[in-house]
Symmetry: D2
């Protein structure tokens, strides 16, 4: 299948290019970048020299029609929707990595991002978490690839909400992300000298745009409104996300029983690894891969359930998950091209 | 005043040596190290070459008596108590950085550390958090310098417990520490290649030895038992600790009101900086200093109070705080020798 | 083909396991580790959980005979030779990553490493730099995979020595290596807290064991004795090696002409990328890959030729190169399983 | 003495603010920043909250006249000279950290930086390397604080040039710098994600603006023209510079004899530490300090002398050295306020 990576010069776009080089069925035939149009990919990104011979072209979807069978769209929110519209009008299936089609309610979107650029398409999009929406993804023409934070929260949390085992209010999520999650931002706070050895919380409580997304999916899983206090942090590393979910069980729940909930939920899943009792997930053990490692702990003495996850924010948190979705959308085995082992060192 | 640094070749010992070089009244006249006895300090630690001309001597307290007026003891727990005993018998005031005199109940100590080596001394020790125990520290012969985690938890938390504003059960602390907190451990998990860009939780829930210490002090502040679920993490950095405390207010508490609680509690304090509303503390802004930065946030929608702190685990979390205590114990101005600005870059 | 990774729990062993998971023709059927014998690989190294189901076995070559068609040996020097002997006696081809068969003169080996454990095998080993010894590797039963430093020096340097363009005395190599090059050493200088943000030269001049290896190969290429002053440095990163070779041209040599020498030497080579004029190689652009990037510069004003290279010390500097050799030894296309793009972020 | 820091919001300006807080005689009474004018220093740079109560003012030297007795100027080159002129016209002594007054030949300046903005002042400036120009600094009204690279090259090199022990052509300097040396640059190559674990050479050979500066001073020391091939590298760390100088002795020179040359040259110097034979300097041992550590090695077999140095590019490489100069200009003891021990961890 001939595919395009639209917005290929950002961090998730580059990671898509890297992953797709190892994919046996998807061939990247077009890579777009407004800033680098006309440059050979290998000149702009020397890591891809000798790997990828394409020349960047401008972000013009009309140029892609007829040349591609599938598109990955890695543009920023708001910029993405018009491109997705044009591609969908030409009947090209799209995996969109932006936030534009994740929220099902245009009013909620407007509250966090501004007016929606293409509200008519919202209803056609499937939320791209294969572990929960595999069936819908298999025939989906448009998939909204989840944000990195929501993926890291929902994978450990949803099994407990579905089973009604925890309170749906008062939930706290303390998440720690590598800086690549912010993309190639020119904000000085992302300069090496200002992030080296540094760590800090930001957008505390009910302030990060990923909160409505995670609450939407958590509420759907629980069958009732779920509220999450979300405290993201920047870590002094490039890749990786370590998330802690703090919940209150409706009745006593041991660490062992909690682990069983995860083990049953992810039995047979290829990319969610439920750790043995007592083991904690780390960033290094998922680096560069499509894995999400999850673990459950309890402080029964104090009435707290503790769920931990790690993933690579550019892998299972973005580009890896996009390819996983694309495999399902295209009828390929879900794990195709995604089985590279983590770069633990 | 002539002082000794006992156990001077570990990370907190080295930091004491560094800080004390800038102190106008304490002169280090003896530095002990079992492993490096007989070596000039500057040969063992080239950073101190040209700064400190002492030669390491063995850890024998009897050799110190008559030569010193004050001792900092930076030995590991259990190893520390016998040395402290010997020094106290000679009437030398001691600031002890180990865990040996932090817990007031020998039975609790035994549960977490093994039998106490000197239970008779426990009652004579003051818990060295100057912001809460300044009066007692002024005449104290023996001070137990708090652990880094308890300091980072208690400074933001205690004002709310004292005021009875929050529930005393269900508290969650998610803390992130630089690796120097573990000392010069030979565990392979502290090798550069295994920590670089890595982050992970460890000793989750009710498993870290600092939990009974923080519960002891928190309970004393609340006037009733306080339970804390504690989830420490290792950060890929050497210095610094970022701590989040998640609590449930007994009645509605806005971010502004919560910040006021902190502002009043720390009015006039030199080393606790209450951040302006909406600002989050970071590791870089306290690096190498004796500051602890604190901030309060609320998600009233979801019933959560969020307290954040950062400190340098070798500074206000250990050696800086030890010098602050020693200043009080010795009748010096509390901030003497501790006003160096953070090494933000 | 059934292969064993002997010494699979060190850093190069782990990297072999990671690379071989992506190889279509080599199947790892045995992984040995003295320390971890009996442990499932995924329990010992959680990054491989769900990827590799083997259980570590002890380092006993007699247990491997009959079960494998090829062996990668990633034991330390001196420990490796006896295992290699046993495997060769059973006629199993071996790619050996230790130093044991790199030096062709047992007396030189003795000077740097001690008495050679198996001098009779030295003559049967081929030096595993495919770009220079491809023909010999195609039928080789035993290959000595080069050290990381020699690979990074020889690839940019040899074309100039072969062409007689530079002086063979006075050469200087200033090399910078990530810490994983030292393996899982327990030396405190490899602790995170002591390497973080740190950089230093070590074994300066004629003191590192890789010097005789690089001089042996350089001299063979030049047809006369070549002397190299070698100054290795430790970088504050886990992976990667950046090497500068400083040479004096026998007659004027412009940057453009020097680049042409490299371009011709590596025309058609898959893993050596000669950079465009004026571009410098970086660690990130080769990270996790089997590429070596090379570039040439000149300060004609001052009579100096400057050759730069970067590679991943665990990739082209060790395990990637071992697989490249194994492909040749086994009659597979040289690049099989090695085309993953660098993890630039 | 009342001092101003002009251009106080860049990295060297911030470091000046940090150092001067510990200085007993210099009081910062004005801090200028075009971008932050009107903001309290502590709001703009939270590390200085509670340390420095000034409000940033605009970069207008006429506002400073009458309020200050001394100025540190940390503006970029070309922007600095007009400010320096205005301050000098008011007879205020200035330590200028820019490149504007380092080169004594306006034509050479023009070649590397463009037309000189104030050529008439060039002759009044003293090159601020106290170890070589102490006498001239004691009465100097205008000091050009050297660049970080030249300082790291000249301290180990000049004693050999002065003694005529080495060839003056063919010299090679391979230098490695932390990223703060580039200041708060918005170039994406200084983003955390693109520098993390990365290392690369740049401006190779005769291309970096610090080359004419180091050749000027080296030639003056040698009494004849000295040519240096300069190869700077970016290290994945914020602070610190490790420099290797490769030279050819005019006649045999052992490591021991070479070390003696350094030991004699720096006998009695407070900030240049000549390491014991065989020891190599590291970044950590000088971090945050005004020390420069130097060492000498030789590969006599191959005719090479190897000189190594480390310093903190913001300390002895910029702001620390500026304060050292200011002490001399003001009649204070040279080491005043500069004796803080390195932050080795």
């Amino acid at each position: 299948m001939r595919v395009a990576v639209v917005g290929a010069s950002g961090y998730t776009g580059l990671e898509l290019m890297r992953i797709l080089l190892q994919h046996p069925h998807f061939e990247v035939v077009a890579a777009t970048s407004e800033q680098r149009a006309g440059m050979p990919v290998g000149d702009a990104f020397p890591s891809l020299r000798g790997c990828q011979e394409l020349v960047f072209e401008a972000n013009d979807p009309s140029n892609l029609i007829g040349r591609i069978d599938f598109a990955f769209c890695a543009l920023p929110h708001a910029a993405s929707a018009p491109t997705v519209c044009a591609l969908r009008e030409a009947n090209i299936p799209v995996a969109d990595l932006s936030a534009d089609f994740r929220l099902r309610d245009a009013a909620v979107y407007a509250e966090w991002y501004g007016d929606h650029p293409a509200p008519e398409l919202i209803g056609t999009a499937v939320y791209g978490l294969p572990e929960f929406h595999r069936g819908d993804l298999e025939k989906a023409p448009l998939v909204a690839v989840p944000g990195c934070y929501p993926t890291s929260v929902l994978l450990p949390l949803v099994p407990f909400l579905r089973a009604g085992l925890i309170e749906t209010e008062g939930l706290v999520v303390d998440a720690k992300s590598g800086v690549s999650g912010a993309g190639r931002s020119s904000d000085p706070k992302f300069l090496y000298a200002e992030r080296d050895g540094n760590c800090e919380a930001y957008k505390v409580g009910y302030a990060h745009r990923h909160v409505p997304e995670m609450e939407q999916e958590a509420s759907a899983a629980a069958g009732q409104g779920v509220k999450i206090s979300f405290i993201p942090h920047l870590l002094p590393t490039t890749r990786g996300m370590a998330t802690s979910v703090y919940a209150r069980p409706r009745s006593g729940l041991s660490a062992r029983a909690a682990r069983e909930v995860l083990a049953e939920a992810y039995d047979g899943e290829r990319f969610v690894r439920v750790l043995p009792e007592g083991e904690t997930p780390s960033l290094a053990t998922v680096r560069g891969s499509n894995f999400c490692d999850v673990a459950a702990f309890a402080d029964e003495r104090n009435g707290n359930l503790i769920l931990l996850s790690t993933l690579d924010n550019l892998g299972k948190g973005a580009s890896g998950q996009a390819v996983q979705c694309a495999n399902l959308m295209s009828g390929f085995a879900e794990e195709t091209g995604l089985l590279g082992a983590p770069l633990v060192l």
